[in-house]
């Protein structure tokens, strides 16, 4: 068990190093950060002074080693754009993204499961057909279009919900939450729906397929033969057995939700790490871009690590393999 975990951890470190390398290489060549920092009217000699001060004239290897060394201490330097420590910037933006990601994951899970079960149980009903067709739109329309569409309907035309921002926030220590105020909750609705649509469709289709599969199995037929109520069969037996893959997928998708929040956050001016990243890309704010990439990589690596370890705990076959190779 320990050997397995250590091996997984070592692999994770390797992945992180590799991501660091990619982040570093890409960002070294995305353009001249000085050019976007100072605007076109700054004299070239002043630009040269800045370049020197930022260490951009050092050899690439030195710059990379410095980057990794600092990254390991959670130190990503000062944002070129905002002149504030990057780690602090990301941490201050993180609560907004996490709240948005969890809210949309909840919407996706609840509605996905409910609609999935419904379409599986009543495959021939008109409503099921409508839901299935609508779900196609959910998958195929780009997020920003959905976002803008929702803004025009619910903010501009109806005036029910705010079109941008996070509303009023409450400071709970270092966590700044929007969940405790009315405007905060109202502001959350549109972005959370926008972000959840893709996952919702995914979960719904997964639940439906799994459900249809399970409903055909022997034990469901047997349960029917036993004379159990329809309700007990559908929810007590069938649904329970479909949920294992659903939970796995949802867990893994949580990483994607955080990563893909970029577009949604930009459309709704949601002050999370995603919109921070986009603004940083526009002005080639390398420290923030690098830190964000490393952060997303870390999220994925951690989630996968947890899933791997869970599998190991759940699935005895893995344990045997791990044990034998550990000898």
């Amino acid at each position: 068990m320990l050997a397995f975990i250590i091996r997984r951890l070592a692999q994770s470190v390797l992945v992180m190093l590799f991501v660091a390398l990619i982040a570093f290489v890409i960002f070294r060549y995305v353009g001249d950060p000085i050019a976007s920092m100072v605007g076109v009217e700054t004299r070239l000699e002043d630009q040269e002074i800045m370049r020197d001060r930022l260490g951009l004239n050092d050899p690439a290897v030195i710059q990379f080693l410095r980057f990794v060394g600092n990254a390991m201490q959670g130190e990503f330097g000062i944002s070129y754009r905002l002149q504030q420590p990057v780690t602090e910037l990301i941490l201050s933006r993180l609560p907004a993204t996490i709240e948005l990601a969890f809210a949309s994951a909840m919407i996706a899970l609840v509605f996905g499961v409910v609609l999935g079960v419904f379409t599986a149980l009543k495959p021939k009903s008109l409503l099921s057909g409508a839901v299935m067709s609508a779900s196609l739109i959910g998958v195929s329309l780009p997020t920003f279009l959905i976002g803008i569409g929702l803004i025009y309907i619910f903010s501009v035309e109806l005036g029910w919900l705010p079109s941008f921002g996070r509303g009023e926030v409450v400071d709970l220590g270092w966590w700044r939450t929007g969940l405790l105020t009315e405007t905060g909750l109202k502001s959350l609705i549109l972005p959370a729906i926008t972000l959840s649509l893709f996952q919702l469709t995914l979960i719904m289709r997964l639940v439906r397929a799994e459900m249809l599969e399970v409903l055909r199995t022997e034990y469901i037929r047997f349960a029917r033969a036993r004379g159990l109520t329809q309700r007990a069969i559908n929810f007590g037996h069938a649904l329970k057995n479909t949920l294992v893959p659903v939970i796995t997928i949802t867990g893994l998708q949580l990483g994607s939700v955080i990563a893909f929040a970029i577009v949604t956050e930009t459309v709704f001016q949601w002050p999370g790490v995603g919109s921070l990243f986009i603004t940083s890309v526009q002005v080639v704010d390398v420290p923030v871009m690098a830190a964000y990439l490393m952060f997303i990589a870390l999220v994925f690596v951690l989630i996968n690590l947890v899933v791997d370890i869970l599998y190991f705990v759940v699935d005895p076959r893995l344990r045997v393999d791990g044990g034998s190779s550990g000898k």
Binding site: V30, D32, R53, Q83
Partner: protein, 527 residues
């Protein structure tokens, strides 16, 4: 709707209760991006300056006509017996937000800070030799040589309090390499009409009116909520839904629709920024052309043909939807040295253009790559696309290479482009600023954005003389001579001056500022 009612209610209440006082008005002001920093000397960038102008003040600034006007300095002049010394008389009775008095010592401190090595405002003060306080309200700035136009460089150099800066250890400007942030990046102590109440970077900043401000007319806007909204469609939607009152960065394609929307109006006006194309000069063959012997752009006939082929009016109508001022000179109308004669541009004449090309030895045209930015100026990439089509009509096959400004700008400064689009703003409102960077041979601090390496020694000499010429009539004559050559030689291919558009709720009026730096103190309300 709710906010409108609340606003109306508040306005009614205050008018009935305090007859003498101006009603309290909050303005929610949306822009495409946030101020980068609150440190007034660490970024020479328009959005940052615009924000800072509300909290900090400069010695002089410009009104909406572009005219220089007194702010913290009441007068400025060159010392009678020494042309290298500028004398500034300061406004009396000005206090900083923390109550400290504003004196000549603060000006000395601020100018020294602004020209220190880590300051991003340094370039504007390179000719300063020393700054001294003569008495509490008089400052002398000694220049390295006669600098008759130095005062133009002061419109974005803000005054800080010396004592406050020393107490909070911000005597030096933010140093990126040091790895720590400076107190002045997040805290302010200015003399301006508004005080900073709160600030959350990229989210919202709140400013409240400074009751102790020196201006006699108190601003109608008593509270400013500054909201950066990066997505253009969301920004416009926020105005339509009444969640913001003013949108400063309005996308060109939305102007018409917003103008037609009830309860919303759009103010437009020319910006002090010209959009132009630059050519590579010199005899060496172009890197991206099929002409392998000689450089077609070096031939004046080719440049004339290209000017005749480019339809500026069509660009205005189709690409800019009417929101641009076509021009025949790379000098915005606000800038000293501009004349209507220079501004005139030739009518499109394709036959003549083809003749000229044939005469130049390119009857079948040639190929070349045009480098364009795609996120810097209004519709920059679309303008370039239009020009590609227009040049195609006379046989010049142009390939478009479009890049974000972060990658485009280095191409120009390192002379790696054959043909490029660039925009040029003139913060000093003086032609020398254009000549120094775009026309003078690339040499040291001159010609930084002369990416085509145009070189004319005769002009260079005249340009350099502008820096120290104290006889203003003579100087104006020299400026006119230089422009004449630049225009006749077709050194640059100017297209138009940009137009700014601000959209706002009907009851508000915010006039367009030529440098896109409107002060919300200039907002008026309709009754």
């Amino acid at each position: 709707m709710k906010t409108v009612i609340a606003g109306l209610g508040a306005a009614l209440l205050s008018t009935t209760m305090l007859v003498t006082s101006v009603s309290a008005e909050t303005i929610r002001w949306a822009r495409g991006s946030d101020a980068l920093t609150l440190d007034p000397h660490s970024q020479n960038q328009g959005v940052t300056h615009n924000f800072a102008h509300h909290i900090y003040e400069t010695l002089v600034d410009r009104d909406v006509e572009g005219t220089l006007q007194p702010r913290l300095a009441l007068s400025w002049e060159i010392k009678a017996d020494d042309p290298t010394v500028w004398v500034f008389k300061l406004r009396e009775g000005v206090t900083f937000h923390d109550g400290a008095a504003f004196t000549a010592e603060d000006v000395v401190f601020s100018l020294d800070r602004a020209r220190s090595e880590k300051s991003n405002m340094r370039q504007l003060h390179v000719d300063v030799d020393s700054v001294t306080a003569v008495d509490d309200l008089t400052v002398e700035v000694k220049m390295k040589g006669p600098s008759p136009l130095y005062v133009n460089n002061l419109t974005n150099t803000f005054m800080m309090d010396k004592t406050w800066s020393e107490t909070n250890n911000v005597v030096e400007v933010q140093d990126y390499a040091a790895g720590e942030d400076n107190y002045a990046v997040r805290n302010t102590n200015g003399t301006g009409p508004y005080k900073l109440v709160s600030r959350e970077v990229d989210v919202r900043s709140v400013m409240a009116v400074n009751d102790d401000h020196w201006a006699e007319n108190k601003p109608a806007v008593t509270e400013i909520i500054y909201l950066p909204i990066s997505d253009a469609a969301t920004r416009v939607a926020a105005l339509l839904s009444g969640e913001v009152d003013i949108v400063q960065d309005v996308p060109v394609q939305d102007i018409e629709r917003l103008t037609g929307t009830d309860g919303i109006k759009v103010e437009t006006g020319p910006e002090n920024r010209v959009i132009y194309f630059g050519y590579k000069f010199g005899d060496a063959p172009l890197k991206t052309s099929n002409v392998t012997e000689g450089n077609p752009f070096n031939n004046p006939l080719v440049r004339e043909a290209m000017e005749l082929a480019v339809d500026r009016d069509a660009i205005k109508q189709v690409v800019m939807r009417g929101q641009s001022v076509p021009t025949g000179v790379a000098n915005p109308p606000f800038v000293a040295g501009w004349t209507p004669e220079l501004d005139a541009y030739p009518a499109v004449d394709l036959d003549r253009a083809r003749e000229l090309l044939a005469e130049a030895g390119y009857p079948d045209g040639f190929t070349v790559t045009l480098d364009t930015p795609n996120n810097r100026y209004v519709n920059d990439e679309a303008i370039s696309q239009a020009v590609v089509g227009m040049l195609g009509r006379i046989g010049i096959q142009v390939t478009l290479a479009s890049r974000p400004v972060a990658q485009h700008s280095p191409l120009v400064t390192s002379n790696e482009t054959d043909f490029y689009l660039l925009g040029w703003g003139v913060p000093t409102f003086d032609s020398a600023y254009v000549f120094n960077d775009l026309v003078h041979t690339k040499d040291g601090s001159y010609g930084a954005y002369n990416g085509g390496l145009y070189s004319n020694p005769e002009l260079d000499e005249k340009i350099r003389s502008l820096g120290t010429e104290t006889d203003l009539a003579k100087r104006d004559a020299t400026v006119a001579e230089i422009w004449q050559v630049v225009k006749e030689d077709r050194v640059l291919l100017p297209i138009h001056n940009q137009v700014l558009a601000y959209a706002m709720a009907d009851r508000i009026t915010l006039p367009v500022h030529p440098e896109n730096q409107p002060l919300l103190t200039s907002v008026t309300f309709a009754d």
